[in-house]
Structures are given as structure tokens and as C-alpha cells.
């Protein structure tokens, strides 16, 4: 289907189903129940899942395929956000020009930074990208305040006079009148599910982005990128110039980042400088590695994992814990709550850090590897009698 082989089609369908039914899947617990804390199916977080998924997918096109580890990708995210908010300020709240411009601006920005940084490889490249991003961040925070509104963040003021904003248009981001923040809440017994326009716009864009990324992975271009990662020397002596390939990958992934930035701004029309800080760049690196660099679906999983912890675990507090364990006798409840408290609320990053370690120690290859192992365990039972044919096992599909 769509020019994909069977396996990739299945993967695409799985992602599509997950994305379209996310409001159900992510809200498995009845509202008001003790476990409702773990529900992630509210518009903002669902949007973040897919937006950061897009960001990570794009990052993976560069890192997963070419092995070039950019430590400055957040700069493109930030630039994309600024571009989109400026479109709201100048043209009006329709998200289309904002999203288009964010992709274009990020692409140009990536072209410039990539052109310079790609003169070096390995860690030298990483540090060059880091340096550019940190410079962008520092300037956005201070001297570029007229453009970026500094620490406060760029936003649309009522004193702005967008050209195409008519009196009847909504004064929040919308897609031809479809307001991004509007949510239809479906109640089904104790459960409730949120269907948000903005989320579905993001989800559809994610599917397109994911589809394009599959195509890139399977294309001759993708093959060349993997060749770059594997042996640049051989590539050069085979008559291929590695630079344009890596630059193209860099720009494409920069455009993905810009798209993510534009979508962030479209869901929530504010762009802050800290989106460009190295911690933000580091986050997408972690997402990709955690999910499984070089795999198709890994980055999406990684993005979901980190955002889930950031948003769900950070909100659990002592009172919530007491709520859960109130059925226990006090002498057990209090120490238990005391212990767990360290891992939730302000301690969410402790949990995340520990999970990073556990995942990477026990699942080299990231969450995807975990999934594969699980799959193998299930399937392995059936095939157990088959003899191990040795060498054939050495075959691997690096781009699964």
C-alpha cells in the first residue's frame, strides 16, 4: 500500500490506529478513580506526544541513518515556533501559514548551520551544532528580544494588527475556523474521552511525517545515508559525495524540527527561548536513543515515554499518594508514601533518570528492542524445536 511493503504498511497502520484512537487508549481509567492520575488522554499531552514524536522522527532521520549526532536540534524547533507566532502576529490566527513558514525558516536555518557544521564529523560535529544552538539560545534570550520577546516568550498581543484577521475569526489559533483548542468530551459511564481538533491536526501531520520517514528509510537516499554512517571513506571512493547527502538529511530533519515547533506554537501560541536550550536538544537525543535510534517507530515511543513521565509523574503529590494507599494501615502507609514521594512530584526526574539507566542496561537498542524481545518470546515458544542454523542468524536488518 502507498508504495510500502507489507511490513511497513502494517507498521503505518499500527501507528495510525494508535494515533487516531489515542483519546481512548490513553484514558483507560475512569475519571475520578484513584488511577485517573495515570490517564494521559487530555488534549495538551496528546498534542505533545505527537509533536515531539514528529521532532524525534526527524531527528532520527539524521542521527539514526547517518550517525551524525546533533546536539543543537532544539534551535530549529525554537526557530519554527518563533516563525509561526510571527505569522499569527502579522497575518492572523490561521495556522496554515504559520506551519508552512516554520518549516521553511527552520529549513533555511538548518541549511546554514548544517553547511558549516558538516565540515566536521563525530563529536566535533556535535559540538559545532551545540555551539550554534547555544548561541541562538543566548541571543534569543537577550539581545534578540525585539524579535523573540526574550524570557517572557513571543506571544500575540491585542495591540497586534494581523492583516488577515477579520472580526469574525477566532482570536486563538484555528484551521480555517476550526479552533485548535476546542475539545469535544465524550462521556461513557465513568469514563470520559477528549477529542481535540488540534490533536487530530497534529496526529494527521504525524502520520504524513511518519509515512515520509518510512519512504526515506527505504529509499536509495536512505541507503546512502546508512552508507555514510557505515563508511564515508568507501563512499567517497565510490564516486559519491557524502556532504550533500548529510546536508540534505540535516535539512530534512531540521524541517521536521521546525514543523514540530510550528505545531507547538499552533497548539499554544507562545514561543519561549528555552525551547532552544541545550537541554531541549538533549531531550530529543534521549528520546531517540531511548526508543531505539535508527528504528522507525523507536523515536515516537521514546518521545511518548519521556513526555509521559514529565507530565504525569510530576503531578503526583503526597496527597495523591495518601489517596491511593489510604486503605493500608497507617504504619505501612506512611513509610510507603514517604518512600514513593521521592520518585514522584519533584522527584519525577529521579525516576526518569533511573529508567534511562534501566532501559539502556537491559534493553540495548531501546524500547523497540524491548518490544522485539517480547515478540520473540511469544513467538519463540512456538518455534523452539527448530535448530539454530548459526550463520543465518548473523543476517540483520539494520533499519527495522
Amino acid at each position: 500500500m502507498l508504495g510500502l511493503d507489507k511490513k511497513d504498511t502494517t507498521l503505518l497502520i499500527v501507528v495510525a490506529v494508535l494515533a487516531l484512537f489515542a483519546p481512548f487508549i490513553l484514558n483507560p481509567f475512569p475519571t475520578g478513580s484513584a488511577m485517573a492520575q495515570f490517564n494521559a488522554g487530555y488534549p495538551d499531552l496528546m498534542q505533545r506526544f505527537v509533536i515531539f514524536g514528529i521532532f524525534a522522527i526527524g531527528f532520527n532521520i539524521l542521527f539514526g541513518l547517518t550517525g551524525y549526532l546533533s546536539f543543537g536540534h532544539a534551535a530549529f524547533l525554537g526557530v519554527g515556533s518563533y516563525a509561526a507566532v510571527w505569522m499569527f502576529k502579522l497575518l492572523g490566527y490561521n495556522v496554515v501559514p504559520g506551519i508552512i513558514l516554520s518549516v521553511i525558516v527552520a529549513g533555511i536555518f538548518a541549511l546554514v548551520i548544517g553547511y558549516i557544521s558538516l565540515r566536521r564529523s563525530g563529536i566535533y560535529f556535535s559540538i559545532l551544532t551545540l555551539a550554534f544552538a547555544q548561541m541562538s539560545f543566548a541571543m534569543a534570550y537577550s539581545v534578540l528580544t525585539p524579535i523573540t520577546n526574550g524570557e517572557t516568550g513571543l506571544q500575540v498581543y491585542s495591540s497586534d494588527t494581523p492583516i488577515f484577521q477579520s472580526a469574525t475569526d477566532p482570536t486563538v489559533p484555528h484551521l480555517f475556523g476550526l479552533v485548535m483548542r476546542e475539545t469535544y468530551t465524550m462521556k461513557a459511564g465513568a469514563w470520559s474521552f477528549d477529542f481535540n481538533y488540534g490533536y487530530y491536526l497534529c496526529a494527521i501531520i504525524l502520520l504524513v511525517a511518519f509515512y515520509i520517514s518510512i519512504r526515506i528509510f527505504r529509499s536509495p537516499f536512505g541507503l546512502m545515508l546508512r552508507a555514510v554512517k557505515s563508511n564515508q571513506q568507501r563512499m567517497n571512493y565510490t564516486g559519491l559525495s557524502a556532504r550533500p547527502y548529510t546536508l540534505a538529511a540535516f535539512v530534512i530533519s531540521g524541517m521536521y524540527a521546525g514543523l514540530a515547533g510550528g505545531l507547538l506554537a499552533s497548539m499554544d501560541p507562545l514561543a519561549g527561548a528555552e525551547r532552544m536550550q541545550w537541554t531541549a536538544s538533549g531531550e530529543v537525543v534521549l528520546m531517540t536513543i531511548l526508543g531505539g535510534a535508527g528504528t522507525l517507530i523507536g523515536p515516537i515511543l521514546g518521545a511518548g515515554f519521556i513526555k509521559y513521565f514529565e507530565n504525569i509523574f510530576s503531578k503526583i503529590n503526597e496527597t495523591t499518594l495518601h489517596g491511593w494507599f489510604s486503605w493500608l494501615p497507617d504504619p505501612i502507609e506512611d513509610p510507603l508514601v514517604w518512600l514513593l514521594e521521592h520518585f514522584v512530584g519533584g522527584g519525577w526526574s529521579l525516576t526518569l533518570g533511573a529508567l534511562f539507566m534501566l532501559v539502556v542496561i537491559f534493553l540495548p537498542g531501546g524500547l523497540v528492542e524491548g518490544g522485539q524481545r517480547l515478540g520473540r518470546m511469544v513467538r519463540g515458544k512456538a518455534k523452539k524445536t527448530e535448530p539454530d542454523t548459526g550463520k543465518s542468524a548473523a543476517t540483520s536488518h539494520p533499519a527495522e
Binding site: L69, A131, L355
Partner: protein
Amino acid sequence: MDDIILQILNGLDKGSAYALIALGLTLIFGTLGVVNFAHGALFMIGAFCAVTLQKLLSFERIEVSATEKTAWGTPLEIRTPYAELWFGHDFGAALIDWSVPLAILFSIPIMLVIGYVMERGLIKHFYKRPHADQILVTFGLAIVLQELIKHYYGANPIPTPAPSVFRGSFDFGALVGFDPGSVIYPYWRMVYFAFSAVIIGAVFAFLQFTTFGMVVRAGMADRETVGLLGINIDRRFTIMFGLAAAVAGLAGVMYTPINSPNYHMGMDFLVLSFVVVVVGGMGSLPGAVLAGFLLGILESFASYSPIKVFFEEWLFLPSIDQIIIYLVAIIILLTRPRGLMGRKGVMED
């Protein structure tokens, strides 16, 4: 002129900190081939060794007053440090006063043990894994370490002053013939610079002139072959890791009077240390030290307001002090492919 000297002096101590952290980072990288994102955390732990010792020394006996109450309604507590109770008032107070230098002795075994445990327990399993995995696991570790420190010590900086004799500042100007008071420089920063010079020298001598150093250098190049020659390279690498941890820790201990330590100081330094290591050139110890001092001094100069103004007005480069390190890093990396003194083929792919 006096301002220039002042800025150089200022750059030296900042450079010392960069150089010390970067030294350990390259050492671990060079010997073990591990990108250690937890190295900043080791620096931070070193600093908290000083905090801990200070706390231990000023551990107080608490007598709860039966009658008096505090302004916020809890019973009044009368606190006396045990150190003063046991060792007499003066000596006890002196111990507390000297807690930072004493923490050097206190921290060395602690850092060695932490380094040892870290290497044996975790890093060891990542030698053959891709750098990306190493980054993830050490980053996770760094988060865990700093969160633990945060749980225990809070997020707020904790003042850890230098011994009172070092608290003043030295009048450099008078010494070299400028107006008295025109170039003054805190004593403790001089101590810090001297201290790091000694440490850096010692590490270099150790690696260059001892057999152990030769083995480690050989192991950096090819650990498998060194093993084939009957040498237990793993054990030596563990020692190197402990050493690198100790260097980072000592850098942290001595840094506390300059900046009150807090739990995220490691992360603050980490990124810059990486820049320093890379600008110095991967795999090169002298490169790391050189780049550390170079960037420290440049940073110091860029903060000097006439220079800031110059860049702003003439070169249209505003807030040069915020971007100088990165700008210089970019220029150096573009003109010298492997940084200042990098070895070929190290981390280039």
C-alpha cells in the same frame, strides 16, 4: 593595563576549573572510550563532600528549651557544635573554619570509591556499546546522582566559605607597581589556581613518566592487544576511572568557596567541559588543559565591558560574553579539524 592583568587573573581560575574537569573527562574518554555525561555530577559530588564535612564538623548538640519559644511558635533550640564541645571552643571553631581544605583529605577516598563502584558496577558494561548508549546511561546516572543530592541537601546553594585567613584579597597592583588597590585578587582564587596547577602537573607526570602511565596510554590505543601481553588492563582502567573521579571531586571541593555549591552545578559545568575537551581535541590531555585555560581567559576578557562595547559597536556582535565560548569553539573547530591537539580518528565517526 591593570584591568587587563585583572582579566587575565580572572581567566586563570575559571580556566583552572574547566581544565580540571576537562582533564578527567578526557582521561575517562581516552582510557575507557566512554563518553561520561556523569562527569559533571562527580564534580558536584566533590563539592558536596566539602558541604558534608562542613555539616559533620558543625554537627550540633540540640538542647530544647522548655520555656522559650521561637517567633514561629516552636520550642526554642539551643545549638552548640559537637566539635567545639569535644575539641574545645577554639580548636573546634578552627576545624569548622578549615572544613574546605580538610575536605580534600575527606573527599579523596570517597571519590575513589565512587569512581571504583561506578566503573565496576556500570561503566564496565558499556565499553563495547555505542557512544549513544553510553550517553544515555551516564546521563541517567547524572540525573539520579543530582536528584539524590537534591533530596538530601535541597535545591538551594549552600554557602561553604574558605578558611578565614584566605577570605581577603591580595593586592596585586601594589606588588607590580600599580596604584594600590587597583588590581586585587582573592586569596582563595590564587589557592585554587595553584592547586589545579599541581594536580594537572601530577596527572601528567604520572601518565608520562611511570610504567603505569605507559600501560594506560597503550590501553587507550588498543586494549585487546595489551591484554594479550598479559596485562590486566581492566584493573588499571578502573584505577584511572577512580583517579579521574578524584580529580573531578577535588576540583569540586576546592571550588565551593568560589561559588556556593548546588545540586545542578555539575550540569552547568558539563556542557562547557565538553566544549573544552573537544576544542582541545579528543584524546589529548594537554589539549584539554590548554583549551580550558584559553576559554577561561577568553571568557573573562569578553566580559570586560570595554571589549563588550567594542564588539557591540564595531563588530555588531552583541552580548559577546554569552556567546564567546561557542563562537571561539566554532572558529577553532572550523580551522583545526581536530581541535587544538586532537588525535586522528578519535570520535570522528
